[in-house]
């Protein structure tokens, strides 16, 4: 399953870091952050609940870039 989330982040490098952090979150098959449109496209692994996974993704993103937001 693929879902798109709106995000807010200030710099392109930070967006790259968010992408990396999201990709390393359990339950995420692949994640792409599009800095120009401020969107994060997340593909979840089979049988995962997007809501709980996204909480983790947000936590991991906050770790690498304090100043970011994902609108869940």
């Amino acid at each position: 399953m693929k879902k798109t989330y709106k995000i807010d982040v200030d710099c392109a490098n930070c967006a790259n870091k968010m992408e990396k952090a999201a990709n390393h979150t359990a339950g995420v098959k692949s994640a792409t952050v599009n800095f120009m449109t401020l969107k994060m496209i997340v593909e979840f692994e089979e049988g995962q609940d997007p809501k709980t996974v996204m909480q983790e993704v947000l936590k991991n993103c906050k770790k690498v870039e304090d100043d970011c937001e994902i609108f869940l």
Binding site: C11, A12, N13, N16, F35, M36, T37, K39, I41, D66
Partner: protein, 621 residues
């Protein structure tokens, strides 16, 4: 400017004023330190906070860390003013970057502002504005002059001229009348329209296009991936380099028995850190691609991802489908030969004889005749499969068909050496001439091929299922290098594979088709370009690049846009890395001071961003 940016701007001004004020005062020692700490903290508190958080979260080597270390270091060395200045310029740079990116983001989304906000639905004789998402298929919507058509549908009342420029980049308005299918995103210019929707909003052309463009920069190009990998290696490398620069030379000097000059080498190391920030690269590359894709979509060229823009720029071979790509795919009478009676009389007989047939050929005959067909004049019409038609028109026996029909009827016929479909005619028992029907070239087809040559395409190849004679003639007329005719769809894939294996690794092959029955070839080529895609989902799905209208000139245009964009990307890569390396070397040698370092960081970034925005301007290519 948003709220956050305004706050930063106020901090920048406050810190700048204080810094200038304090540097004019004759202050020394602890007093100077105390006073300069005020602007330093005003401008840098958030950076310091982020740096500390970064260390706590084990994300050490980021820009905040670099800036914090560089400025704290400068302050410890007693260069208070420079410490504040570095932080100040870093913030100015960040602000500018945020502003420029936000601005171009807005510009580009305005360019692609085709999303309709509402649909008018008639309820109890009154018009009501509703969310287009809520309109069900089959309902009737009303579009006033000046409004966008929100949902695909068929006109049931009214006629108008439509402005399709937001979709196709084509400024010529299009006429539409009752019974015509219209697509969402067009602007209704003159008349009030009632439209019966044929799709849901989410399935309508405008939604499909928006979805495609918005997701396009998610497919990253090789240059973008290169930069993210580069940044990952680069920042730690520079940090270790700086540490080595601060420690190694003084230690060596101690062993050599000369003064270690710790202050000098630490200052050099800090300069090193300021220069090293990878912002310019990391921001300008995706920004260039985003601007390029935005500019292209304004011209009616939809590119599905940065990677495709990159591939497109390396295109050296272009393979075309013939029908629908280079030709209009509409058959028209192009000549009458060996006629034994006036041309219009012959065409009239042909049109009548074929009037009961729904074959494309009979349609073109009817078009050529141009008048209403009075079917009562035709009797005893009979279709002879694979050969043609025999019928009585006004009681006169007429036969229209290929040479086999003429032979069957035992009539002498004359060879027609023109390329195209030939309809032989026999009227009242004797041969009356032949009518040539052929597919017309698109108006810009020839120009398109020569533009492609100018754009650096080495070889153009045409593939077609059509007869050799027709194909050769078209190819010659257009100046196409190679032509392969009488191919079945599977043969086209084989041919493209053959061409793919012949070219060198760095050259790319593009296939251009109308997307209807060439999906396998579109996906087999390095890059598939579908044209005339307005309203055709299949084409939008199958291709990597979609040309919204069916003008072949747009192929060359798309290639030129991609070239410009990729050129800007490389300019930025070479420029930013080049300047940084030069400054790093100068910094290590002690020639560059903190001020040059600030230019290397902020100045390079500003220039790279401005250069990236150039990719948006593609109108005159």
């Amino acid at each position: 400017m948003n709220k956050k940016q305004k706050k930063v701007l106020i901090r920048i001004i406050a810190a700048a004023v204080l810094m200038i004020l304090f540097s004019l005062l004759p202050i020394e020692g602890y007093l100077a330190f105390g006073l300069f700490m005020i602007p330093y903290l005003i401008i840098g508190y958030d950076i310091l906070k982020k740096a500390v958080k970064g260390i706590l979260n084990r994300q050490v080597f980021d820009e905040n860390f670099l800036m914090a270390v560089a400025t704290v270091g400068a302050i410890i060395l007693g260069d208070y003013k420079e410490g504040v200045a570095v932080m100040l310029f870093y913030q100015i740079g960040e602000l500018f970057q945020g502003y420029a990116v936000g601005k171009s983001r807005k510009n580009i989304s305005e360019l692609m502002d085709i999303r309709p906000d509402y649909a008018n639905v008639e309820k109890d004789g009154k018009l009501e504005k509703v969310d287009p998402d809520e309109v069900e298929t089959g309902s009737v919507i009303v579009v006033m002059p000046g409004e966008k058509i929100p949902i695909d549908g068929t006109i049931i009342e009214g006629n108008t001229t439509l402005n399709t420029s937001a979709l196709t980049g084509e400024s010529l308005p299009r006429e539409a009348k009752e019974g015509d299918d219209v697509i969402s995103g067009c602007i209704n210019m003159t008349g009030v329209l009632k439209i019966r929707t044929t799709r849901e909003f989410g399935e309508s052309t405008v939604s499909k296009i928006l979805e495609l463009v918005e997701n396009s920069s998610s497919r990253k190009s090789r240059s973008e991936n290169f930069i993210s990998r580069f940044a990952r290696v680069y920042t730690p490398a520079v940090c270790y380099g700086a540490a080595a620069l601060a420690i190694l030379p003084p230690v060596v000097r101690i062993f050599m028995g000369i003064t270690p000059q710790w202050g000098e080498w630490i200052y050099r190391a800090l300069t090193f850190l300021v220069i090293s920030c990878p912002c310019a690269l990391v921001i300008s590359i995706p920004l260039s691609f985003f601007a390029g894709i935005g500019g292209a979509s304004r011209e009616g060229v939809l590119v599905k991802g940065s990677n495709y823009l990159e591939t497109l720029s390396q295109t050296r071979y272009v393979v075309f489908d013939k029908t629908g790509t280079m030709t209009q795919g509409v058959f028209e009478v192009s000549g009458v030969y060996h006629n034994q009676m006036p041309e219009d009389k012959l065409i009239e007989y042909a049109a009548y004889a074929e009037s009961f047939s729904s074959h494309p050929i009979s349609k073109s005959l009817k078009n050529a005749y141009g008048k209403e067909i009075d079917r009562t004049r035709v009797t005893d019409a009979e279709e002879i499969s694979g050969k043609g038609v025999v019928a009585r028109v006004d009681g006169v026996p007429v036969a229209a068909g290929n040479h086999k029909l003429m032979e069957e009827l035992g009539l002498g016929w004359k060879e027609c050496d023109q390329a195209g479909t030939v309809v032989h005619m026999a009227v009242d028992g004797s041969y009356a001439g032949c009518i040539l029907i052929s597919d017309l070239l698109k108006p810009h087809a020839k120009e398109a091929i020569s533009e492609l040559k100018k754009a650096g395409v080495k070889k153009s190849v045409m593939l077609t299922g059509d007869a050799k004679k027709v194909a050769d003639q078209v190819a010659e007329e257009l100046g196409i290098h190679e032509v392969y005719s009488e191919l079945l769809p599977a043969d086209k894939v084989n041919k493209v594979e053959e061409l793919l294996s012949q070219k060198s690794d760095k050259e790319r092959l593009a296939f251009v088709g109308d997307g209807i029955n060439d999906a396998p070839v579109l996906s087999r080529a390095d890059i598939g370009i579908a044209m005339g895609a307005l309203g055709s989902d299949a084409a939008i799905e199958a291709a990597d690049v979609v040309l919204m209208d069916d003008d072949p000139l747009k192929i060359a245009k798309a290639i030129k846009i991609s070239r410009k964009c990729v050129r800007i990307v490389y300019e930025n890569i070479y420029f930013a890395i080049g300047i940084k390396i030069i400054c790093l070397v100068l910094g290590a040698l002690g020639i560059a001071n903190m001020w040059l370092a600030i230019f290397a960081d902020v100045g390079v970034m500003v220039i790279a961003v401005l250069n990236a925005i150039r990719a948006l301007f593609v109108k005159k290519l």
